[in-house]
Symmetry: C2
Subunit: 216 residues, 2 copies
């Protein structure tokens, strides 16, 4: 009423909101039941409460929306990892706390992770490839990070990548477990303990590494 600057932008804001609402409706519907390529344009617009043709004002087709969902999902994940990377290094229970943070984060963003898990091998090739590219990127970043640790700074790039791949496989396994139970209040402590142990077991192997494998 008395806010000219705000009402000034109402129309544009609404359009931005619709665009975002379309993505959120897609996430919601995927989480609720379907896979992305079992999802119809009309379902999405119906969920948002606009007419089907409005969809085309924002995306040329479903695939574009899907690719943007991949970007959304990884953008937030990258932010988490960036913060984690900058946090004070090497407290005693660093592993435990990292796992806790990660699991909490997955639960807070379950629809994004649900989407990634479902579409990583889903029916739309372009989306699969985009996800795969991002995961590979994450893996090589993790490999670089690992190389900075004293125990690992003599390792070859290949071996660092191998270890990063194993850690990511383990974490994907954990993500899957988190997703199985959809309740937000679910007690994840058992899950966190197992994940922590798995990472610890991997790390325990590192001092002994190359004692034998280096010969073949």
């Amino acid at each position: 009423m008395g806010r000219p600057q705000k009402t000034h932008r109402t129309r544009r804001e609404k359009s931005v909101n619709t665009r975002q609402a379309l993505r959120e409706a897609a996430l919601e519907l995927i989480d609720r039941d379907n896979s992305f390529d079992g999802l119809s344009l009309r379902e999405i617009t119906r969920e948002v409460g606009v007419v089907p043709t409005t969809f085309y004002r924002h995306y040329p087709d479903m695939e574009s929306l899907g690719l943007e969902l991949v970007d959304d999902s990884f953008r937030t994940l990258r932010e988490l990892l960036k913060v984690a990377r900058q946090s004070p290094v090497e407290t005693d229970d660093r592993i435990r706390r990292s796992v806790e943070t990660f699991v909490t984060y997955v639960r807070a963003n379950r629809r994004h992770f649900q989407f990634l898990a479902r579409e990583r091998f889903g029916g739309v090739a372009a989306i699969r490839e985009e996800i795969r590219t991002e995961v590979r990127l994450l893996q090589s970043e993790l490999a670089t990070d690992l190389g900075r640790f004293p125990v690992l700074n003599k390792w070859s790039t290949d071996d660092l990548n191998m270890m990063a791949g194993l850690m990511i496989s383990a974490m994907i396994g954990i993500v899957e477990q988190v997703l199985v139970n959809r309740r937000r209040e679910h007690d994840d402590s058992a899950l966190i303990k197992v994940a922590e142990k798995q990472l610890r077991l991997i790390l325990l192997g590192t001092p002994a590494w190359r004692s034998k494998p280096v010969t073949d």
Copy 2:
């Protein structure tokens, strides 16, 4: 012509074949492009070369067919593992050879694994749950097997399960890599080396296990 016993059964055989052909067509179409719930009954019957209504002579709905595909996929996998379990124990390069066998097997049965990978988080709840149940079963069997090794026979059931879970996560990661490259003649040797190293790294950690984690 001169084989009465065989022509005797032609009709029945044909029906068995159609039933199987429906499942194979579904696998083929899923491998080619779609996810299961983006797949239509008509596509499947079209692929087989029968009229859509024929489908109902064999399955009440698509979900039943999907569940049978899960059974098919795990039945063959179980057979592989059974053979592996009975094979002569403890040769020096046991890990390497197990990984080789496994990767070769995944390639030979890629459509089944493609199906499992795609539907493990796919849009059909009943199928997801069936797959999850089977994987959990596999994990507990592996945990039992692990407990028979000298290094591990003092481990708690929880810890054996933790380790089995980690190994399965690693192998699922490997399966995914195999599936990315669809060519049957693809050279998997690099992949096999990485998988072997990952398992070796896990095993290297086992002697040191419990030196510290047991206290918390």
